[in-house]
Symmetry: C2
Subunit: 184 residues, 2 copies
């Protein structure tokens, strides 16, 4: 990877995209000692219940904290995939939740996983799908050490949800083992 | 106010500055229909447990999502006040938690309030000091409608904490009534 790694996590409100971004950012800054910037935009571009967070990880100081061309897109809704799916670098990652996204633009490194269904079936809760997705991202890319993201989940999980979120993270890691190298 | 209003909420990790920023940003985008960008930076500039979030509110699209010169600084730690206290616009707001901040640089519109102590004495919890501070900010500036921030607190409060966070917000509104017009 180059010095700068740009990620966009996009879905709908209530899917916990912002919390996933905070955990990813803290894991990168803490465990790996990188510079990290995380941005949410609200307003006209987030109409209709859309929710998006951007996380930039860099070895050097970050002057511009937003995505220029994504190294990774997580699309947790069809709208998110339609809007951002064509703006992923050719050697980047396009990760889609197949429960939410049916149409995917062609991309050489597309990863399709039933993220929401895995959360419901393995954790018993839909609300942890964001953390399953986080496990998939970290498992596939190695952008932050697994231990760093485990510790960030422990710190940031809402009260009473630490155990299920750690289980969701492990479920995501497991998905990444099965889908590694899968092509679009 | 000009078209763009820049806020910096700064303290230490565990004080909930990021959650306060998310609530403020959502309230502005939802209730007032503004463009809002919210940024966290991690890494070298956040060493030693510092935590900071920046919220930009604008009538027009936001090209650069970080603070250039703050219209408002909330300083919840001495370190935060030392670092950012001199970068507030002369007609901006400098709000400090007097339980955490003892030395304050001269500023024509300084508001001193015992935010943490109010949270402990009135809510019985230190953890809600961030929401007391949010009430102070919104009460003083009117940057977002009170009702919009109440609804954002209801949506974003961690499970089981909605009531105490709403009480904390009201406590902050009340503080703003007493400190309005206070000078540094």
């Amino acid at each position: 990877m180059s010095d700068r790694f740009e990620m966009r996590l996009a879905g709908t409100g209530g899917q916990g995209m912002i919390l996933a971004g905070i955990i990813l950012a803290e894991a990168a800054a803490g465990g790996a000692g990188k510079n990290v910037a995380q941005t949410q935009s609200y307003g006209p571009e987030a109409r209709g219940g859309a929710s998006k967070t951007e996380v930039i990880i860099s070895d050097t100081e970050i002057d511009y904290p937003k995505v220029i061309q994504a190294d990774l897109l997580l699309a947790m809704s069809q709208e998110a995939c339609d809007k951002y799916g064509r703006e992923v670098k050719p050697d980047g990652w396009l990760i889609v939740d197949t429960d939410q996204v049916k149409r995917v633009p062609p991309h050489p490194r597309t990863v399709r996983a039933p993220i929401t269904r895995i959360s419901v079936e393995q954790i018993g809760r839909q609300i942890t799908a964001n953390i399953v997705a986080l496990g998939v991202i970290v498992g596939l890319t190695g952008i932050v050490p697994r231990q760093a993201v485990i510790e960030a989940v422990e710190r940031r999980a809402p009260p009473g949800t630490k155990e299920i979120n750690l289980q969701a993270l492990q479920a995501g890691f497991a998905v990444s083992e099965h889908t590694r190298g899968q092509n679009g």
